[in-house]
Structure formats: C-alpha cells, structure tokens
C-alpha cells in the first residue's frame, strides 16, 4: 500500500484503475496475496487458549498437526509420516525429519512432549486428552501416544496435536512471567508471539482490524500446490458487508456466507459459492425434570412427529441444512441411514390422544437469536408447529450472551442447543447431550432434557473402549436408535457450511466439513 502512494505522487495517476494496473505490473507473477474475510479474527495467537473454530482455523495456518482430516473424513499424514498401533494402549508415530519452526529451531519429539504436557493443562483442551496418559519420546523422530485403556479415538485426537516450539516458549519474559503460561482473561507471551511449523508466519496483527500472514520460507511441505505468499485477514462482522466486499472485489475469499446472500453470489459470474453438509446438529431438548408432561414418552414422540423439520430446512434455511432424525451426520460411525425425519401431523395428534395429556398443555421455550443460522425463526416455527397438537408455547429468544446463563440455569421447559462433536465422532454427542447428567464424571453436561437411560450410558462408555471399528459402529448405532425411539429430544437439522470466493481462487479443494480451510494448500490461478 505504501508503494501505491509513492507511485501516485510520482506518476500523478488519478484514476484508481490505472493505479491498480501499475501496482499489479510491479509484483512478480508468482507472489499471490489472498485477501480473506471471516466474521471474526482469532482471539489470540496461543493455539491452546481456546477450543473454538476460529482458533483451529488459525492453528492450520501457523502450525501443523500430526495428522489432519481430509474432505472425506479420513486421516492425512502431516508431521507424522507413519503410524501404527503397537499394543492396545499405544500408538506409535514416526515424525517427519528436518521440519523447521518459524524461529529457525528444528522440530523434534521433545517439542511434541512439551506440547502434549501443555495441552493437558489447557482448560479447553484437557477434556479431549482426558483418556491419554502420556506422550512418550522414543527417539528424536518417534513418539508414542499412551492411553489409559484401549481408546478408539487416538487418531481423531492426533488432529489436535500441533507442536509448539518448546525452545522458543521456554524461560521467562523480561517481566518475569513464564513464556509457556496459558492466560485466558489477559495477555501472555504466547498470546502475542507465535512459532509453529505451519505454512504462514504472523507478520502483523491488530486485534479486530487485520492480521497479515506471510508464507514461511522454510516450510517443509514443498509438494503443496499452495501458492499464496501473503494472507491479509480482515474480520467483517456484518453478513451483507462481507458479501459486498467480495462482490466489489475488495476481498478474495469470505466465510461464512448466510443463506440469504446465496442469490447475490450465484447471480454474479465473477464469484463462486461452495457449500458442504456440516456436522453441527441443531435440536430442542425437552426438560423432563421441569415438566412432568415430558416424562411421558408418547408426548415427546408426538412433539417430534409434529415438527416438520424438512419444511424448516427448505423454507427457513433455504435448503442450506440437512434435515435430521438423529445426532450423527452421515460419515460418522453412529449414523444410521434408516432413521429419517418423522413429520406426520395425524400421527402426532393420535399420539397426543393416547398420551396422558390429550387436551394438550402450555410450556416455555428459549432459544438464542444470534448463535445459530436463523435460530430465532426456527424456534418460532417449532412453536407454531407444536400449537397444532394443542401445545401452547411461550417462546423467549435472546442474544447468546444472555442465552447461555439461562441455558445453564435450565430456565425453560424446552431449550435450543446446537452441537458439533470436537472429536468428529458420534460418542461425543451422546457424552454431552444424551447421557445422564453427572457432575462428577462431567457426562451429560449439555443434556438439559435430563433424559436418562442406562443402556445409553453404559454403551457410550463401552464404545469409548472399543477399538474395533465395526463393533464400535454397531454400538454407536444402537445408541442412536435408542434415543431416536425414545424421542429423547427434537432433532432439527445439520447446519450446512458455505464459503465464497472470487473465481480463480480454488477454495473447493481446501475446505472441509470441520470448517478449517487449509489455506497453505490454496492455489490461486
């Protein structure tokens, strides 16, 4: 930008068009800058500070994991070149050699050990690593992940191990603070300094305004097709402004894209829209402890039959959602293709008649209005649908900042909750949403319905010890079927994902259902 202004003075060019052309002519053909606009920028540079989509997006830019997810939900070698299970509790990884950190240090097994120990102290990540006992250094280029029993999700968890530069983060800062400490409510050394092995280094960052990434010259992956030399990431909060910025050519790549904006993008032949089924399930939970009526399985079933979730996906979500009858999306082990949406108003009315409450009842319902795509409209539609079977809903919606305290207090009879499985595995849904709430084990933490079933509890725990995929799939599917048949909750849909870019920016190859685009591999024509 500086160059532009001096050019302007020298050549006295007034027309912006002429200016842009001359600026382009001066940059070498291979150097490509990607102007990227997400709805928010990363809250910190410390990748262990928060477990959130935004932080994982950053992790895949500045760091590399042991293995990463492919678009088909398989595993792809990154810093690990090879892995094998050596015994029931141990998986051994061979590490890539000669990988450099941004600081210039060479990556070794010791960095993995250091990172693993730090993850175990992170409030957000330690839950994922709860089943892991140790990361053992075999030699400089070999590590072993040791679990406290047979654990089926070792590889899933390995996608979360992005080694940090242990030498860089060892020692004290000038004001005597530990460089490795994780601080969530303030600044720390790691929140403003980064040294990973990833394709990009952070060259400048102004919170909430702009982050500039430059390609790491010594990046190990020379086979990558990626040719982006610089990424300028600007947060643009407003959905319409973000789309306008893309359409006017001010940015090259935007995410997320709201369903209301699809038309504008599809109508423009300079830009492209890429959508993909997502894995976040949106549901309503029916609180059996607050509301005696919900203890009656017939009532719950009637409510599921009364809600036309296919209609919601088509009309309110404009096709930008996959109607669901279960928690696990297709591709997950627990997904049972036989379970399909159940909307049938006559059947719902029939079930209400058979239940203990043939005349219906009144209930309260709460939903956020800025957390999930169209959350408020969905809640209003569900309330209207339930009125058809004589259930009068008193609906209250509020911003997410106010919603979560209400959710924690279980303040309404039915509450909306969306859930994405951090492990990309079915069991995570059951652990948080379907198992009997238990303060000590932490299970059922988001089961505001207080649904409780012994078989679900026991099978979920057992499935987390079963390393045979086929057997495990049977177990998970049996849980899915059980909570479906018990109408434990009202399933709505899986939210789809959408990205848009200028044509020539080949985002289709680098986006995935986890919503962390691999920008290091992005190729711009």
């Amino acid at each position: 930008m500086k160059r532009k202004s001096t050019l302007l003075k020298k050549l006295n060019i007034v027309l912006m068009g002429g200016l842009m052309a001359s600026a382009l002519a001066l940059t070498p053909a291979s150097a490509k800058t990607l102007k990227l606009a997400y709805d928010a920028d990363p809250i910190s540079l410390d990748i262990h500070e928060q477990l959130s989509g935004g932080m994982l997006q950053l992790s895949h830019m500045t760091h590399d994991p042991l293995v990463r997810w492919t678009q088909e939900l398989g595993f792809e070698a990154r810093l690990a070149t090879k892995w094998e299970r050596v015994d029931a509790n141990t998986v051994r990884f061979n590490l890539r050699e000669g990988v450099k950190f941004h600081s210039g240090n060479t990556m070794t097994a010791a960095d993995f050990k250091w990172t693993f120990d730090r993850l175990k102290t992170s409030k957000d990540f330690k839950g994922i690593f709860a089943n892991f006992k140790d990361l053992k250094v075999v030699d400089d280029n070999t590590i072993e992940l040791i679990t406290d029993g047979p654990y089926p999700l070792v590889m899933h968890t390995a996608t979360y191990i992005f080694p940090m530069d242990s030498k860089f983060f060892s020692g004290k800062t000038s004001d005597g603070k530990d460089k490795a400490e994780i601080v969530k409510d303030g600044a720390s050394f790691a929140s403003v300094n980064s040294s990973g092995t990833g394709p990009f280094t952070v060259s400048s960052r102004e919170q909430g305004v702009k982050v500039v990434f430059d390609r790491f010259a010594d990046y190990w992956d020379k086979d990558s097709k990626g040719n982006v030399s610089q990424v300028v990431m600007t947060p643009i909060k407003d959905n319409q402004t973000r789309v306008a910025a893309l359409l006017s050519g001010d940015v090259d790549f935007i995410a997320p894209v709201a369903p209301n904006e699809f038309g504008q993008i599809e109508a423009n032949d300079k830009v492209q829209l890429v959508t993909m089924p997502g894995t976040r399930i949106i549901t309503f939970q029916l609180n059996q402890e607050r509301k005696a009526e919900f203890k009656d399985a017939k009532v719950r079933e009637a409510m599921v039959y009364a809600v036309n979730n296919v209609g919601i996906a088509q009309k309110i979500m404009k096709g930008f959602a996959t109607p669901a009858a279960q928690m696990s999306p297709a591709g997950y082990l627990g997904h049972d293709p036989a379970l399909t949406p159940r909307f049938d108003l006559d059947k719902a009315k029939q079930l209400m008649k058979e239940s203990g409450f043939p005349d219906g009842f009144s209930m309260t319902m709460m939903a956020p209005n800025n957390r999930y795509v169209n959350d408020e409209k969905i809640a209003q539609a569900v309330a209207a649908m339930l009125s058809k079977i004589n259930i009068k809903v008193d609906l209250k919606t509020m911003p997410k900042a106010q919603y979560w305290p209400e959710y924690d207090a279980r303040a309404a009879d039915a509450m909306m909750i969306g859930w994405h499985s951090d492990t990309e595995d079915s069991a995570n849904f059951y652990e948080f949403l379907a198992m009997t709430p238990n303060k000590e084990t932490g299970m059922g933490a988001y089961n505001s319905g207080n649904y409780s079933n012994k078989m679900v509890d026991e099978t979920t725990v057992a499935a987390n010890k079963e390393t045979d995929d086929a057997k495990r799939a049977m177990m998970l599917m049996s849980i899915e079927k059980k909570i479906h048949d018990d109408a434990a909750y009202i399933p709505l849909h899986w939210q789809n994902l959408a990205w848009a870019s200028r044509k020539g920016v080949n985002i289709k190859e680098i986006v995935n259902a986890m919503n962390f685009p691999y920008i290091g591999d992005l190729k711009i024509d």
Binding site: K123, K184, D185, S191, G208, T234, L247, K400, Q402
Partner: protein, 326 residues
Amino acid sequence: MLQFLFKRLLQAIVVMLIISLLCFSIKDNLGDPLREMTGQSVPESERVLMREEMGLNDPFLIQYGRFIKNAVQGDLGNSYFHKAPAMTVILKKLPATLELTFAATLIIVFLSIPLGVFSAIKPKHWFSKLVMAVSIIGISIPVFLTALALIYIFAVKLGWMPSFGRGEIVHIIGYWKTNFLTVDGIMHIIMPAIALSSIMLPLFIRLVRAEMLEVLSSEYVKFARAKGLSATKVYFKHALKNTMLPVITVGGVQIGIMVAYTILTESVFQWPGMGFMFLEAVNRSDIPLIVAYIMFVGFLFVVVNTLVDLLYGVINPTVNLLGKSK
C-alpha cells in the same frame, strides 16, 4: 473562566460515578464472559474455578470498590477480548471514530447552512421545496439502510467506492492514524461519512431554515432592509450570525449523539472505531470494556457540552458562563 472549568470537571466526575454505578448494577445481566472465553465443551466446574479466580463471585460492593480504587488510579480494567487495558483499547479506536464524526460534521456544515439559508430566503423556489421533500425522506430512512444502499450501488454495482474498512491510513502521532492524507483513505471515509450524516443533515437544514426565517421576520432585519442595506449584507452579515446561535447549541449536543450513531455506521462498514468495538464488546460480554466505554462516552458528552458553552460565549458575549450576576 477557571471556576467554570472546575465546576464542569466536578460535574464530569459525578456523571461518571453515576454511570459506573449503573453499569455495575446491571453487569451481571450482560451475559457470562466466561462463555466467550472457553470452548463449549469445557466443563462447568472449570468455569466456576475461573470465575472465582477472576473475582467475579465477590459481592457487589467489593467488586465495585475494587473497580473505583483502580479507576482513581486511571485503570478501568482489562478488556477480556483485546487482552489490554480497556482505556488503551478505547483510545486506540477513538481516532477512527472522531475522524468519521468529523467528516460527517463537515458534510453537515457545508450542506446544511447553504441549503437552509437558501430555502429560508426563497421559500417558494422549486429547489427549496425539493430540499424540504428530500430531507423528510432522509430523516425517515434508518442509517444502516442508507449505508447498505450506498455499498450496494457504489461499491458492488458501480465499483467506484471501496466497500469496507479504513483503507490506507497514515500515522500521525500516538494512536492517531489518519484517513485524510491519502486518496485511498479519503475514498474509504466518504460513504461511511455520508451514511452517518444522513440522519442529522435533514435536521440541521430544517433548523437553519427555521431559525433564519424567524430572524428574517424580526424588526432589525426589516429595519436594515428599509434603511437600504443590500440584501446580501443583511442576510449574511446580520441575519446569519444570529441564526447560528441556537444552531451551535443544538449542534454540539447532536454531534455528541452522532458518536452514538457511529455504532450502526461502523458495524455496517466494518469501520474499526469505538462504536463497532462497543457492539462487539456487548456481543462478547466483555464487561470491563462495556463499562469503560459507557463511562468514556459520558465523559465525552460533558466535554462537548463544555466546548459548546465556551463557543457560545465567544459568539454571544452577553452569555454569562457561571450564571451569576456580575
């Protein structure tokens, strides 16, 4: 004069104390900041622990006392999201907002006075009628709609204007980076400034017109005309000066209010100023930043009002700042 300023300073302190007390009493209803700081799957027990560590479980008076004690030393707490002192964050964002408000004020001053005066002098002229009609429409369209329409027409359809942000800015001093020294920067500020001025502009045109009409019908203007002074001299030397007195009073207060309107304009244009920062802070339950912002805006209002009073004294020497008889 000094006495006047001292009185105003005291007033500012009282205003900020009251604001801080109000903010503190509602802060628990602004949402749970821990929810924004931790991932969804973090167990409640961890959050309880953090809340305890951060002192959020302390009784109201202890928390407030701690806040006041630090505030006296100039520390309004740390923003959770920006990980920096709230006051630093606000001061960093302030120049962007002030520049936007300044640009909008320029538009208002240079349009409202000529248009208002013209439509007062020639009320039956077709152009005056057009101005009045357009201003009615202008005042009834919400700012964000004007902003989106501008973006759609000039950035997306015509491609003349940039759609968001501040563009190329030049560092002046401290936190102040300006838009006004580069072509790119000026291009970026035009649309947000128009959108921001769109609400106030009609009001000012009407105000100038109404005041001017009143002055024009007063005895001394009629006398001046009867005496044979030229119309231009009467209108611009004698009448306009008296017209401006109430306009400045209202203007000062309105410019203060405009700072509040920047919340909408800034969020549509992703303008990195205080207004957008505040909206984000509310979304994230960044309570220290919310409290600091509201106190700061309260302070800003007192400052603006003081400046208006001083200016008023300059224009109209008969005004007695202290309200005492001499």
